[in-house]
């Protein structure tokens, strides 16, 4: 019995072991991915109206290529109702963007790829997939059910002009090779720490010569052109007449019937005889070989990525960190690591040069996620920001826990076009800043840094500062008012002598209120008193009762006069004192008031109301047309930010309120209409 059990166990272990050995591993989204996106095809596909979308895509394709290369974009072989996964990676020498698709018709997909690739370009066959390059840096691979497209930007790391130390900095070199570790194909081409190699140096210097030659070449071309100009002027004493554009150029070698239309001349320079500038063939050859070398490397990287994917079980797994804020109900989910994007991306060298890397790296060391929803009548974008250091995140969250202030929200009224309200904890802001500064900066000067911070804490009376402005504020755009301004124009008498005449026109000026809470009214009153009594400033600042006012003298600008005062713990700054009087509130404005006090940050903008206010600014026919289009389509913008689940969550809503079937098609309908208007406008303006 025992032996049977033992044998069964052994067989079970063996089977399990074999299963493990032969099971294909799932594909991991690379841990160094700075961007990850999931497109919820199951939901999104239902929201796309292909009947509208397809002609639009064809039109764009036609505009780019002259004629549409594909008839029905709803049938490309891609299974649109499956989830798509995209990610981007950045390393010192390689930047790549990769997307994974599921296919429902391999033959159709192949046809689609054939329509996009260069004619005559062979599809490469591998063991378990086929692939082709759509461009020098764009590769696509597929098997029966899956496809992968990858865009690779490879730039060989040359001597770093930003950081002289890098050449000997093995840590930095090692860091760069992280990407190489993942893509072994690239590793072959990556630089390693080597002793000085005179051959390499010669190669480097040759590359420098190539660069310098390209500069000389462009100057030579200019010199040759000017010499031809001189010759032409010596002979004809004038520049040649400009050639008329779009005129067919008849090639005498052809018959009258077969008129060959040449492209219009690019500029007046076309008179220059057709003799080509001498081509530096050596230079051209070198450039071509460099290009070919680069393509080889990029191709190897792509192949390596494809091998990895098509040898997996096609399950793409992302880290828990990436997915921590994903909502399965969203149409699109995006994760971004701004810390890496900032530190590894385009700004890397600038920050490193200015010793900002540490502090900025610490500030941006965060995960950011977006969930996008195309609802029936609104587009919703929910953004979560989370600092990777829990302590710093706690300090940031604490800032977003402010008190309510109803005196500020009461300033919103029925006429209000929009507002931006803030209810944060100003006192906690100092803690947040201290935690960001803590341990940042050059490691060599940590002790000095701590001393500076301690001194700051002693010098700054955080509590007193927070009392000046504890963190509640609001900006309200009340309305856009019409204002008459005069201007000078010229009229002419019968002999065409000009005469200055004064005319008037209407312009729209904003009526707004900015207010914030204070627990130290005396401080602000003292500031305002100084403004009104100071010898230089008093010309523009005056006091009238409880109000102080600022007037620039001339009434040329959009704001003629500003009033400010301190009352009941609030500092007000407004274009009209009437804005501070109590107003009636309808249910709509009451909702605005409620929202503005409920969240640490919130804002709203009624774009329809703005357009009504700006109506006079739209004068010409095309401007009126745009205004009508916008009026018909624009909705209301609303956002709120709060500390939620160890993150700072911002929700942005754009209400569409139109006849489109959903908010995704709303954007399509809007762009389509704008596109058509633009095309219609272009026609009569043909030159």
């Amino acid at each position: 019995m025992k032996s049977i059990l033992l044998k069964t166990k052994t067989i079970a272990f063996l089977l399990f072991g074999f299963a493990l050995a032969f099971a294909q591993n799932s594909m991991q989204v690379p841990s160094d991915a700075v961007f990850y996106m999931e497109i919820n095809g199951k939901q999104l596909n239902k929201k796309i109206n292909w009947e509208k979308f397809n002609p639009f895509l064809k039109q764009i394709d036609k505009k780019e290529k002259g004629k549409p290369s594909w008839n029905d974009y709803s049938k490309t072989g891609i299974k649109y109702d499956a989830t798509q996964r995209h990610y981007a990676r950045i390393s010192d020498s390689v930047k790549s963007y990769t997307a994974h698709f599921v296919l429902d018709n391999k033959d159709k997909f192949q046809e689609f790829i054939n329509s996009s690739k260069k004619k005559g370009l062979e599809v490469s066959k591998k063991n378990n997939y086929s692939y082709v390059d759509l461009d020098e840096d764009l590769f696509v691979a597929w098997n029966d059910q899956h496809a992968m497209i990858t865009l690779i930007d490879y730039n060989k790391r040359s001597k770093d002009i930003w950081d002289e130390e890098l050449v000997t900095d093995s840590v930095a070199v090692m860091a760069d090779s992280v990407y190489v570790g993942v893509d072994s194909a690239a590793a072959v081409y990556e630089e390693e720490v080597k002793p000085f190699d005179y051959k390499e140096e010669i190669k480097y210097l040759k590359e420098e010569i190539k660069y310098l030659k390209s500069d000389i070449k462009s100057y030579n071309a200019d010199i040759a052109k000017y010499q031809k100009d001189i010759k032409y002027l010596e002979k004809h004493h004038k520049y040649p007449e400009e050639k008329k554009e779009k005129e067919a150029v008849i090639d005498s070698a052809y018959s009258e019937e077969s008129v060959e239309a040449m492209p219009p001349p690019a500029s007046q320079d076309d008179y220059v005889e057709t003799e080509a500038y001498p081509v530096d063939s050596e230079y051209q050859k070198e450039m071509d070989s460099l290009k070919a070398e680069k393509f080889k490397i990029v191709k190897r990287i792509a192949e390596n990525n494809f091998d990895k994917y098509f040898n997996s079980n096609f399950e793409i797994e992302s880290s828990a960190e990436m997915l921590s804020f994903r909502d399965g109900n969203s149409d699109v989910f995006v994760y971004a690591d701004y810390g890496k994007i900032i530190n590894e991306g385009v700004y890397k060298n600038i920050y490193r040069l200015n010793n900002f890397t540490e502090i900025l790296g610490k500030m941006y060391n965060s995960n950011t996620a977006y969930n996008l929803y195309f609802d029936k009548d609104k587009v919703r974008l929910v953004n979560n920001y989370q600092h990777k250091d829990p302590e710093i995140q706690e300090n940031i969250s604490a800032v977003y826990k402010g008190k309510k202030n109803k005196k500020l929200t009461a300033l919103i009224n029925d006429k209000s076009i929009g507002y931006y309200a803030m209810n944060v904890n100003g006192f906690k802001y100092f803690d947040m800043m201290y935690s960001l500064l803590q341990d940042s900066g050059d490691k060599e000067y940590q002790k000095e840094m701590q001393l500076v911070m301690e001194t700051m804490k002693i010098v700054l009376d955080e509590e007193a500062i927070a009392k000046i402005a504890p963190g509640n504020g609001i900006f309200i755009l009340n309305e856009l008012k019409s204002k008459k301004v005069d201007y000078t124009d010229y009229d002419y008498d019968d002999d065409y002598n000009e005469k200055e005449i004064k005319k008037t026109k209407d312009i729209m000026v904003p009526d707004f209120t900015f207010a914030f809470a204070t627990e130290n009214e005396g401080y602000w009153k003292r500031i305002f008193d100084v403004l009104t009594t100071n010898k230089d400033l008093a010309k523009k600042f005056t006091k009238n009762g409880d109000f102080y006012s600022f007037k620039d003298g001339k009434s040329n600008g959009y704001v003629d006069q500003l009033f400010f005062t301190v009352k009941d713990g609030i500092v007000y700054l407004t274009t009209s004192t009437d804005n501070l009087n109590a107003k009636n509130h309808s249910s709509a404005s009451e909702k605005w008031m409620k929202d503005s006090s409920k969240y640490p940050l919130s804002g709203r903008l009624d774009v329809q109301k703005i357009l009504v206010g700006l109506e006079k600014e739209f004068k010409s026919t095309s401007e009126r047309k745009t205004l009508d289009l916008l009026r018909k389509n624009v909705g209301e913008l609303y956002f709120k930010t709060e500390a939620k689940g160890n993150s700072i969550q911002t929700e942005m809503n754009y209400n569409t309120n139109t006849n489109s079937e959903n908010s995704l098609m709303y954007f399509f309908d809007l762009f389509d209409e704008i596109f058509k208007n633009m095309e219609a406008d272009k026609k009569p303006q043909t030159l």
Binding site: S267, T488, Y490, D495, Y496, E498, G557, S620
Partner: protein, 222 residues
């Protein structure tokens, strides 16, 4: 070509940073060939917007020139004009409340103005492509010629859409006044005054930039 157009834009960028500005140039020629030349740049219609822009450092990625910089450029232009033989009584008026700039001078012969413009070009106040040989007068042949200008179409096309907008409603007016009576002209786009001693050409600046309207004219006197 591109650089020179940009230089022109920089010179008057404060005025050009609005969709409403007018340019008026006027030539008054006496029978002996002497006369008066004046140029007015009027952006008064956009003065509210300009007052706001003038407080900014940059707009559309371009530096907003300070008042002192504009004054210095105009004064330099006036100083250069004064140094040209045949040019006298150079006057400048700069009204920064209404955003109107005026430059005027007297000339012994109209070709002096051409020489003045040539000098401005040499000193980089005007762009290289700005035409300088604009006018010619031949008393013996009784002709006055306003020469053709180059097209700025390719330069215009290279501008960003924000920069292009600047030209949308901009107006150009050219006035030619004579002591002699005009017998005929080659460009009927110029309106002839009732006494046949003056002519005026008006249009959107864009039409002249794109050469939809021609500026050249040959005037014959009686």
């Amino acid at each position: 070509m591109k650089i020179s157009f940009k230089q022109l834009l920089l010179l008057f960028s404060l005025l050009f940073l609005t969709s409403c500005f007018d340019i008026l140039d006027k030539v008054n020629v006496k029978a002996d060939g002497s006369g008066e030349y004046s140029l007015i740049l009027n952006a008064s219609k956009s003065k509210t917007r300009l007052a706001s822009i003038s407080k900014m450092e940059t707009i559309n990625g371009k530096k907003v020139p300070k008042r002192a910089e504009i004054e210095s450029k105009i004064n330099e232009a006036a100083r250069i004009f004064k140094s040209v033989p045949g040019i006298s009584n150079v006057k400048t008026v700069m009204d920064f409340d209404n955003y109107i700039l005026k430059l005027s001078c007297n000339f012994k012969k109209i070709e002096n103005v051409n020489a003045g413009l040539e000098q401005l070009k040499a000193k980089n106040i005007l762009g290289k492509m700005i035409p300088t040989q604009i006018y010619s007068h031949n008393s013996a042949k009784k002709t006055f010629i306003r020469n053709k200008i180059n097209t700025f179409k390719s330069d215009y096309n290279q501008l960003s859409s924000a920069d292009k907008e600047v030209f949308n409603n901009a107006k150009y007016t050219s006035v030619l006044q004579f002591e002699n009576t005009v017998k005929s002209q080659s460009n009927n786009a110029y309106q002839l005054s009732p006494n046949k001693k003056a002519m005026k050409l008006e249009g959107n600046i864009l039409d002249f930039i794109l050469q939809k309207k021609q500026i050249q004219n040959t005037v014959l006197f009686q």
